[in-house]
C-alpha cells in the first residue's frame, strides 16, 4: 500500500489549482462531461489500496484559473457499500493520501429523473463542500416533454444549477463559470433539518468515540455510522465489532424511541424534503411519451429474442477477437522471432549473453506484448457495450446463471473472454461493482480453458487419443477439456463466497441506463489506457519472471556436460547408423548439418537436465509420480510456469529434439510414444496423457495471468489463486491417472 500511496503522491497535483470532484449516480453522462471538460489533458491511476480507477484531468475555467477535475465512481448514495462508493466518501472527507479535499463538488444529475439524483446531492452538500448541480441529459428530458425550471431550483437550493447536454457540448461554458463562482463565493445549500432524536443519537456516537479515544468523525460521517448498518466508516474508527454493535445499537435505539426507523428515516426525510423543493420545478407532459429506447428494450430484454441478440453479439465480439487478434499475434510473434534471430547472430560469440538476450529478454518482452491485441480489442468492445447501456441488459439476461454461486450477471463477459485469454478476463472484471463478486470472478477466471492450453491438448490428443479411438472421441475429449474448467469454476465460486467471504448472496439491483450513442473517443481512450496499464505494471513483472526462469534453465552450464554428451552421442549415433565412432567424429568435425543439428539438440537436452530447473524437476518428480508424470514431464510442468504452451518446447528439449518443435511435430509425438520407464513400460499411456491434460486445464501456469491478478486484486490473492489452482490441478491429475489406470486394468 505504501508504494501506491507514494505513486499517488508523486502524481503531483498542482496545489495552486482548484480541486473539483465530479460526482453522480451511474449513467448520468458524468464521464462524457469529464471528457468534454478536460479533453486530452487527463490521466488515470488507481486509488491507494483499492482497484478503483482514479481518473483526473485539467480544465481551464477562465484565462486565469485552472482546475484539477477528479471523476469519481458513480454512486447512488454515500452509504458506502462497495469499494467504488467508499472512494467517493473518502475523497469527500479527505481520507485519500495525496489528494486534497475538493474545493467544489460538481454533482451531475439526470434531467429525466431529477428527484432521485438530488438524493445524493443532498448527502454531498451535508459534508460542507461547495456544490454545483449540473443537470445533464437535458436533450433526453426535452424529447420526453419534461421541462425543468433551473432558476427556481437554484433559488430554492441556494446553489448554482446548470442545465446541460454534455454529449453535445451544451452548457459546459456555464458549468465552468459556475465552478469558479462556487469557489469564489461559496454558498451553503439549503438542506433538510434532522429531527432532534437524530442529533441526539449522533451526539451520543460522538461522545462514545471521544470517550474511547477513537478517531474523530465529522457530523456527516457520524450520520453514516448511525444510518448504514455495514458502513465502511466502521473500519476506520478502530472499534471492535462488539464495541461497534453496542454503541451503534444504542444510538439506533434512541431513534426507535422517537418513533423513527433507523433503516428508513434517512431516505424518508430526505425525499420528503426534496419533494417540497421540487414542487413546480419539473413539469411532466400530461401524456407520457414512449421513448425509442423502450421498444428497443422490449426486444433486447425479451426472454427469447433477447437471448438470440445477446448470443449473436457475443459471437460477434469474440469472433472479432479471434480473427482480429490472431494475425496481430502472429505478426508480433514473427517480429520478435525475427528480432531474436538478428540479435542472436550478432551475439554469437557470447553464448551466455546471446541466450539471455534472445531467450530471456526478447522472448520475455514478446511474451508480454503478445497479449496486447486481445486486451485492446476486448476493452474496445467492453467500452462500447457499457456506453451504449447494453452491458446492464446482458447482466440482467445472464444473472440467474451465476446468482446461485454468489456471483451476478456482470461476471458473464469477463468469464467468457477468459476462454480466449484469462488476462483480459481478469482485467475486465473491473466492470463488476460488487467487490466480492469481482474478486471471486478474478479467482475463477483462469480456470476457463484459454487458447494457450490448446497446443497442449492438441499434442496429447493427437499423439495418444486420436490414433487409438478415432476423431469423434478425440473431439469429445477436446470439448470435455474446455468444459472441465467451467464445471469446476462455478462450485469453487460458491465455495469462496461461503467459506472465505462468508456471504450467501449479495443483492443485485441494477439500473437499466437509457440507450446512448457511445463516445468513440472515450472507448479508444479507455482501450489505450488498459493496454498501457497492462504493459507498464504486469509487463515489468512478467519480464522479470521470464528472466528468472531463463536463468534457472540456463545455469549451471559446465563445458564437461557438453563434452560428456558428445561422447555419449557419438557412440549412440554410430550404433544407430552402423558407422564407426571415428566416422561420426569426422562428420561432426566437417560440420555435417544433419549430425551437428542432432548433436546440438542432445547437448541442449543435457544442459536442461543439468540446469537448476532440470534438477528441480527431478527432485519434485516423486510428487507427480501419483499422476504418472516422469521427470521430463515434470520439468515441462516447472518450465511452463511462465506460460502453458512452453511445455511443448521444453519437451522438445528434454527429448533431444531442440526447442523448435510444435504440437504437431512428428518427431516429438514419436519420441513421446516410444519413451519408456527403466522397466520397459511406456511413459505415456492414455491415463497419463489425460492426467497431463487435466493438469494443464486446471493449473495456473501463466505468469502473465498471475501478474495481472496481482495488479488487479493484490499479490496475496494472486498467490492464493496460484496455490488453489496448483493444488486443484494436482488432485485432478492424480485422480485422472489413478481412475484411468484402474479402469484400464479392469478392461
Amino acid at each position: 500500500m505504501s508504494r501506491l500511496v507514494q505513486s499517488i503522491a508523486n502524481a503531483s497535483i498542482d496545489d495552486a489549482t482548484l480541486q473539483v470532484a465530479l460526482i453522480g449516480n451511474p449513467n448520468t453522462g458524468k464521464s462524457t462531461a469529464f471528457n468534454r471538460l478536460t479533453g486530452i489533458r487527463q490521466r488515470t491511476g488507481n486509488y491507494p489500496g483499492v482497484t478503483v480507477e482514479r481518473r483526473y484531468g485539467t480544465c481551464s475555467l477562465d484565462a486565469d484559473h485552472n482546475a484539477t477535475i477528479v471523476d469519481l465512481p458513480g454512486t447512488y448514495s454515500l452509504a458506502a457499500a462497495s469499494a467504488d462508493e467508499r472512494v467517493v466518501v473518502d475523497v469527500l472527507s479527505g481520507h485519500i493520501p495525496g489528494t486534497r479535499l475538493p474545493d467544489v463538488a460538481v454533482c451531475v444529475a439526470d434531467a429525466t429523473n431529477l428527484m432521485r439524483h438530488l438524493f445524493l446531492v443532498s448527502q454531498i452538500a451535508e459534508t460542507g463542500v461547495s456544490v454545483v448541480l449540473a443537470v445533464n441529459l437535458m436533450d433526453a428530458a426535452e424529447s420526453q416533454g419534461i421541462s425543468i425550471d433551473a432558476k427556481l431550483l437554484s433559488e430554492r437550493l441556494n446553489i448554482p444549477v446548470v442545465p446541460m447536454c454534455a454529449s453535445r457540448g451544451r452548457g459546459l461554458d456555464e458549468l465552468r463559470a459556475a465552478i469558479l463562482k462556487a469557489h469564489q463565493q461559496p454558498t451553503k445549500m439549503n438542506n433538510l433539518q434532522w429531527p432532534q432524536a437524530v442529533h441526539e443519537a449522533t451526539e451520543y456516537l460522538r461522545q462514545s468515540l471521544a470517550a474511547e479515544k477513537a478517531r474523530d468523525l465529522t457530523p456527516p460521517e457520524l450520520l453514516r455510522l448511525l444510518f448504514d448498518q455495514d458502513s465502511a466508516i466502521a473500519d476506520r474508527i478502530g472499534w471492535s465489532a462488539a464495541q461497534h454493535r453496542m454503541h451503534v445499537d444504542q444510538a439506533r435505539t434512541m431513534l426507535h424511541e422517537a418513533n423513527l426507523d433507523p433503516d428508513t428515516v434517512e431516505p424518508m426525510l430526505r425525499y420528503a424534503f426534496l419533494a417540497e423543493i421540487m414542487e413546480n420545478v419539473v413539469t411532466h407532459p400530461t401524456v407520457r411519451r414512449a421513448t425509442g429506447g423502450e421498444s428497443i428494450d422490449r426486444l433486447l430484454t425479451h426472454r427469447f429474442w433477447g437471448l438470440i441478440v445477446f448470443a449473436a453479439l457475443m459471437y460477434g465480439v469474440f469472433w472479432t477477437i479471434y480473427t482480429g487478434a490472431g494475425p496481430m499475434m502472429d505478426a508480433i510473434d514473427g517480429t520478435f522471432g525475427w528480432l531474436g534471430e538478428i540479435v542472436g547472430t550478432q551475439l554469437e560469440s557470447w553464448p551466455m549473453i546471446q541466450s539471455l538476450v534472445v531467450d530471456g529478454l526478447i522472448a520475455g518482452v514478446g511474451g508480454v506484448v503478445i497479449f496486447l491485441p486481445q486486451i485492446l480489442i476486448l476493452f474496445f468492445f467492453i467500452s462500447l457495450l457499457e456506453d451504449t447501456g447494453y452491458m446492464a441488459r446482458a447482466a440482467y439476461l445472464m444473472d440467474k446463471l451465476f446468482s446461485w454461486c454468489g456471483l451476478n450477471g456482470k461476471s458473464f463477459v469477463p468469464l467468457l473472454s477468459s476462454f480466449a485469454c484469462a488476462i483480459p478476463g481478469v482485467m475486465g472484471a473491473r466492470t463488476i461493482d460488487n467487490p466480492r463478486s469481482r474478486l471471486t470472478t478474478i479467482l475463477i477466471a483462469p480456470l476457463m480453458s484459454c487458447s494457450a492450453r490448446l497446443p497442449v491438448y492438441v499434442l496429447l490428443i493427437g499423439a495418444f487419443i486420436e490414433p487409438k479411438y478415432g476423431s469423434a472421441i478425440a473431439a469429445a475429449v477436446l470439448f470435455g477439456m474446455h468444459l472441465l474448467g467451467l464445471v469446476i469454476a462455478l462450485p469453487f465460486a460458491l465455495l469462496f463466497n461461503r467459506v472465505i467471504f462468508k456471504v450467501k448472496r449479495s443483492p443485485f439491483i441494477l439500473e437499466m441506463p437509457s440507450y446512448r450513442v457511445p463516445d468513440l473517443r472515450d472507448a479508444l481512450w479507455r482501450m489505450w489506457n488498459r493496454g498501457k496499464d497492462f504493459l507498464m505494471t504486469a509487463g515489468t513483472v512478467i519480464l522479470a519472471m521470464s528472466i528468472v526462469i531463463w536463468a534457472l534453465s540456463y545455469f549451471p552450464r559446465g563445458e564437461e556436460v557438453a563434452e560428456h554428451e558428445q561422447t555419449v552421442f557419438i557412440t549412440e549415433y554410430a550404433a544407430a547408423h552402423e558407422l564407426s565412432p571415428q566416422r561420426v567424429g569426422e562428420l561432426i568435425e566437417a560440420g555435417n548439418e544433419e549430425v551437428t543439428g542432432e548433436l546440438d539438440a542432445h547437448i541442449e537436452g543435457a544442459y536442461l537436465e543439468q540446469s537448476y530447473l532440470g534438477r528441480m524437476g527431478k527432485a519434485v518428480q516423486p510428487l507427480f509420480a501419483p499422476a504418472g508424470f516422469d521427470w521430463k514431464t515434470t520439468v515441462g510442468v516447472l518450465a511452463s510456469f511462465p506460460a502453458r504452451e512452453v511445455i511443448i518446447s521444453t519437451l522438445g528439449i528434454t527429448y533431444n529434439l531442440g526447442a523448435d518443435v510444435d504440437e504437431s511435430s512428428e518427431g516429438l509425438i514419436g519420441s513421446m510414444k516410444s519413451a519408456h520407464w527403466p522397466d520397459g513400460s511406456p511413459v505415456f499411456t492414455i491415463p497419463v496423457a489425460l492426467a497431463v491434460m487435466v493438469f494443464f486445464a486446471l493449473c495456473m501456469q501463466c505468469m502473465a495471468t498471475l501478474a495481472v491478478m496481482g495488479r488487479e486484486a493484490g499479490w496475496g490473492w494472486a498467490a492464493f489463486g496460484f496455490t488453489y489452482m496448483t493444488v486443484l490441478a494436482w488432485f485432478g491429475a492424480v485422480f485422472t491417472y489413478q481412475v484411468g489406470t484402474w479402469i484400464g486394468n479392469m478392461a
Binding site: 447512488y76 448514495s77 452509504a79 457499500a81 429525466t112 429523473n113 428527484m115 432521485r116 438524493f119 445524493l120 444510518f227 448504514d228 448498518q229 455495514d230 433503516d263 428508513t264 434517512e266 431516505p267 424518508m268 425525499y271 428494450d297 422490449r298 430484454t301 425479451h302 426472454r303 427469447f304 433477447g306 437471448l307 446492464a392 447482466a395 440482467y396 439476461l397 444473472d399 440467474k400 446463471l401 446468482s403 448472496r505 443483492p507 443485485f508 439491483i509 441494477l510 439500473e511 437499466m512
Partner: protein
C-alpha cells in the same frame, strides 16, 4: 396487497412498504424504490430471475429475493 416478486409481467401497483435485511432497505430507497412510488413489471429474465421493473423515470433489474421485500398495493 402482494409482494413485487409475485407480480406478473405488465402488472403494476404502488409500493406500500419496504422491509429488507440489513442495509438493503436504505439502498433500495436511495435508488428511488420509495413507499408511494409506482412500479410496473416489464418482464422476467430468460431463466426466470431477475425481474425487470419500470419505475417513475427509470427501469431496474431486481432479483426475486430482493423484490420480495417490497409490498405492493394495486
Amino acid at each position: 396487497m402482494t409482494t413485487l416478486n409475485l407480480m406478473k409481467k405488465n402488472q403494476s401497483g404502488r409500493i406500500a412498504s419496504i422491509r429488507a435485511a440489513g442495509s438493503l432497505t436504505g439502498r433500495l430507497m436511495a435508488m428511488g424504490l420509495l413507499p408511494g412510488a409506482k412500479v410496473q413489471v416489464l418482464g422476467v429474465a430468460p431463466l426466470g430471475d431477475p425481474m425487470l421493473v419500470q419505475l417513475e423515470g427509470c427501469r431496474m433489474s431486481l432479483r426475486r429475493s430482493e423484490a420480495e421485500s417490497l409490498t405492493i398495493e394495486e
